[in-house]
């Protein structure tokens, strides 16, 4: 469904990712783990068109998307919940949710809204409140709920568990499963490697801009070097 080939991208003089090959198949949850500054967010930004690929190719559903504008990529069915959640603080919770469906024209937006507020009941009680007044966890729920309002074929999640309490982390990961059951494919960037490897079908390890390891979630979870570097075991 998504294919990166020898992808190179960066900022000004910095080359943050240096030739990445990665693929995500329909219905999969694939995770990308790696330490701070490895280039995980940069990879997602390149897929969404926020930064341009310097070389290499990005293909989605067989079509090259690396020359498209971000809003065109969203229209093809790729939504991203960016690092830091990207909610609009001055807009109300319900306005944030309807922006998720901005590029849709169908009649089912209302029923999707009902589905999202069912998934995150806390949002339902706060629909008319400015999104900036939500707690961190609620903002993360809003960001994920809003991405669902786009009915993405592929959902890119950048560290959805960051800064959340263990209970909320559980909620977020079970939501990731629910989203997949509802038919979306997921590319999940995480620092929380143990949780990520548990939900993921397949995983990639990114180190200083290159993929150093790949395999099934279970394989990487038992790999010695991964256990040392990312699962905090000695």
């Amino acid at each position: 469904m998504l294919k990166l080939r020898a992808l190179v991208a960066g900022y000004g003089g910095i080359t943050a990712i240096k030739g990445i090959d990665l693929h995500v198949e329909e219905g999969e949850i694939v995770t990308l783990i790696g330490s701070n500054g490895a280039g995980k967010s940069t990879t997602l930004r390149a897929i969404s068109g926020i930064i341009r690929a310097r070389s290499g190719a990005i293909e989605f559903a067989g079509k090259s998307i690396d020359r498209l504008q971000p809003h065109q990529i969203v229209r093809l069915g790729i939504s991203q919940v960016p690092e830091g959640r990207g909610i609009f603080a001055r807009l109300s919770v319900s306005e944030n949710l309807s922006l998720g469906a901005f590029q849709r024209k169908d009649k089912e937006i209302g029923s999707d809204l009902a589905r999202v507020t069912e998934l995150f009941p806390r949002l339902k009680e706060r629909l008319s409140q400015p999104a900036g007044t939500l707690s961190g966890g609620e903002q993360q729920m809003l960001a994920m709920g809003r991405a669902l309002m786009a009915r993405p074929k592929l959902l890119l999640l950048d560290e959805p568990s960051m800064g959340l309490s263990p209970i909320l982390v559980e909620t977020i990961f079970s939501t990731v499963r629910t989203i997949r059951e509802q038919g979306a494919t997921i590319l999940l960037v995480e620092q929380n490697a143990s949780m990520a490897l548990e939900v993921a079908d397949r995983a990639y390890v990114l180190e200083s801009g290159v993929i150093s390891l790949e395999g099934t979630g279970a394989e990487l979870a038992t790999d010695d070097s991964v256990r040392k570097a990312y699962l905090g075991e000695s």
Binding site: H71, V74, S79, R90, L99
Partner: protein
Amino acid sequence: MIAPLFLTGAEFWADQTVNGLTTGSIYALIALGYTMVYGVLQLINFAHGEVFMIGAFAGYGVLVGMGGDDLTGVMVALAIVLALLAAAVASAATSVTIERIAYRPLRNAPRLAPLISAIGVSVFLSHLVDDGFLGGQSKFYPLIFPNGGISLGPLSVSYLQMFLMGSSLLMMAALYWVVQRTGAGRAIRAVAESRTNASLMGIDVNRAIVITFVLGAIMAGFAGVLYGLFLSSIRGSMGFIPGVKAFTAAVLGGIGSIPGAVVGGYGLGLAETLGREVLNEIPGVNLPNEWKDVVAFSVLVLILIFRPTGIFKQKETKRA
């Protein structure tokens, strides 16, 4: 202490208040364009005064084309409506062209670059009209608006003033509705918070920016015709002073804030009108009309010193 100020009588002050609200309406309409463009681009669109001027000329063209001073009856109403429409279209077209040519190519340049570009466009347009087309002459709006008005106690308001204030309020209410209640308005507010995050919603950021310029320009073009109907004399450089004052009004209200631009516009209109008259109450002082400008720009300097964020402070948002 206050009493001596009212020596001149209630009627006089009621008149001045109405005058202040009348000019305030025009400032508020123009200020909306400054504040909305600043909201999405953090750019002071210094050519906005010329967008207002173009609107005034487009309206003038329609009024004269339809018969000018010979217009009577319903034709006056029809001509004014068409003049307002033509002004909105001409101003919007001007503003979109300016955005495309002078600002968009500089989107990622240092912040000073688009500002200088804006000043360049402003000077170019006002001189193009003044020297290029009019040979330094002014044009005069036909005086077709029905005379007369109503009086209520000390308060008397002409029909023209009522039309000016009433139609301005309607336009502002319409703008508020567009910004708060439509998808395009939501997109504009999202882009104002973060261009990157807005693009991740599937919003075409350039389109949202163009719509912002169009909405601001419609308000300015409308104001241009009202100005012409009220003061009659128009010229290429007419946008400069109202432009800078509307900018002052936007800063007074808190630049980036839409309610702020409206409050700032009326506030500045009242302050400059009443301010001069209050000073004139001091024995031996008799300030000419131009002192309104002195009062208005003193307001600008004072806000910049004491409350640069204006009345309606905008929360800082992350730029991405």
